[in-house]
Symmetry: C2
Subunit: 300 residues, 2 copies
């Protein structure tokens, strides 16, 4: 377990989540006419809680380089739009078919399937609209890099491709390497992007950028394993969605492949490894170390 | 009917469509692993033909300002990715539920619904990846403007919002103004963007930009009315999808509201009006005038 305990991250995450909702609301397009149902669905999904892990990482990484809070807040909002879009589409009957999300009816249950597809599409689009806007950063090169890196992280070689593999994994068994690749694509790439945005906004291309992406890769996979552990061991209450769902669907996870104990050990190693990347930073990165402890804490 | 006949546009469109497919293929991401099914679906949808109207407009508008062909080709490809994504998602059972598209099984019929959702998502993402890439234009300000304008055209205040209204129109009747607003959002905004890209790439902000967007607004609505006329009068063969589908779904169109003759008259007026915008251009814009004649020709 890392030197620094989980309390700092846990408190910061909680405080952040609260203030971040205001940021999100301000950036939501106003409903205008008959299309307002899409706005309602976007807002419903965005405001349904969640840990806000990705925007938190954006904000913490940006603070390492003293980035202007407004820039970080907008990038954080864009990342949360992407994460939320992916949840809406993943929950669809044709995909993971999940009726509940974060303890509430998923978007296609609260509204309907068509609205869920469209709300996801609109959130995906809105993320790019936010990033490309001058308000995010005066330097267009930086804005373009944000758009480029984000699109690479969530396209067919990233999040979308990962979800495709995950769906296929219901019918064919993946080995450890394939599962790790799938999970890096499906959730890791966006977490890496979230951490990297700090370096992009600060135009830093040195070892500090690599430190952030290295940290993000390890902590991202650790988070995923812990989520899978909770899916096996936890209750629906703790994870906010139907427990045991992945197991029932016959989905391959590192937990199902390695067993609970081995998977927990792997998560622990990833947590340790994530922290080692942070030596290039001073105590400003303590919160990232504490976040690693938080993941360790959840796993045990 | 415009002074210039439809032949120039018809021939140019045909020639363009053929060469453009090569451009598209080069920009498609290579399938790598188990996620390859998404690549296959993206490619299937993109290569299923179509008039290639939007990329054609991008290319013609860019030629008015002597834009480098490579830049125009990449922007044209991005626009076609967006158009194709919208068709894939619109065809889904939860949306318009169309089994056929351009005379072929729609993506969710050829593959499955999950793959169709993901292929749409990936194409939407790819469009932004293409636009933000340095290869598209060395000037990051221009690339950001392309991303900004595109996202505004296709989000909840544009294409996505228009599709939401169109779905709602199955259950409640829209008046003429509401239908025009819906159609401007659903298809007009992307056509306007297609024409405007020439001015964006050339950093032109004068009356020539307004001329292009004015032309695009008129021709876009005219095209839509003609499509609706063909849906009422035409065969499945001509329009490449199930004929009479919109009528059957009880969808409000200007044709259903005004009747065939009145709608045709409106289309004619829009064609005339579209051409009037072009007086600021020399004979380089003849092809746009001919395109207007082509729309007129299709309407009669």
């Amino acid at each position: 377990m890392p030197d620094i305990g989980p309390d700092l991250a846990q408190k910061s995450l909680g405080d952040f989540a609260e203030s971040f909702e205001q940021t999100l609301l301000k950036l939501m397009p106003e409903p205008e006419g008959m299309e307002g149902q899409v706005n309602d669905a976007m807002r419903y999904a965005l405001m349904a809680g969640g840990k806000r892990l990705r925007p938190f990482l954006v904000t913490v990484a940006a603070s390492l380089f003293s980035i202007e809070p407004k820039a970080a807040a907008r990038v954080a909002a864009a990342v949360e739009c992407i994460h939320t879009y992916s949840l809406i589409h993943d929950d669809l009957p044709a995909m993971d078919d999940d009726d509940m999300r974060r303890g509430l009816p998923s978007v296609h249950r609260k509204f309907d399937e068509a609205t869920a597809v469209l709300a996801g599409d609109a959130l995906l689009t809105l993320a790019f609209e936010i990033l490309a806007d001058k308000e995010t950063h005066p330097d267009a090169e930086i804005r373009c890099e944000l758009v480029s890196k984000l699109s690479a992280a969530i396209g067919v070689h990233g999040m979308v491709g990962g979800q495709m593999i995950d769906l296929k994994a219901e019918n064919q068994s993946l080995n450890q390497m394939e599962i790790k690749r799938m999970q890096h694509m499906k959730t890791g790439a966006l977490i890496v992007f979230s951490c990297e945005t700090g370096a992009i906004l600060a135009k830093v291309t040195d070892e500090r950028r690599n430190a952030l992406t290295g940290y993000a890769q390890d902590i991202g996979l650790a988070f995923q394993i812990v989520d899978d552990l909770l899916d096996v061991e936890g209750s629906s209450e703790n994870i906010g969605k139907t427990a045991g769902k992945d197991v029932e669907a016959g989905k391959a996870t590192l937990v199902s492949l390695m067993g609970v104990e081995e998977a927990r050990k792997t998560a622990d190693e990833l947590v340790e490894s994530s922290v080692r990347h942070l030596h290039v930073f001073d105590e400003k990165a303590d919160i990232l170390r504490s976040l690693a402890a938080f993941v360790f804490h959840r796993a045990h």
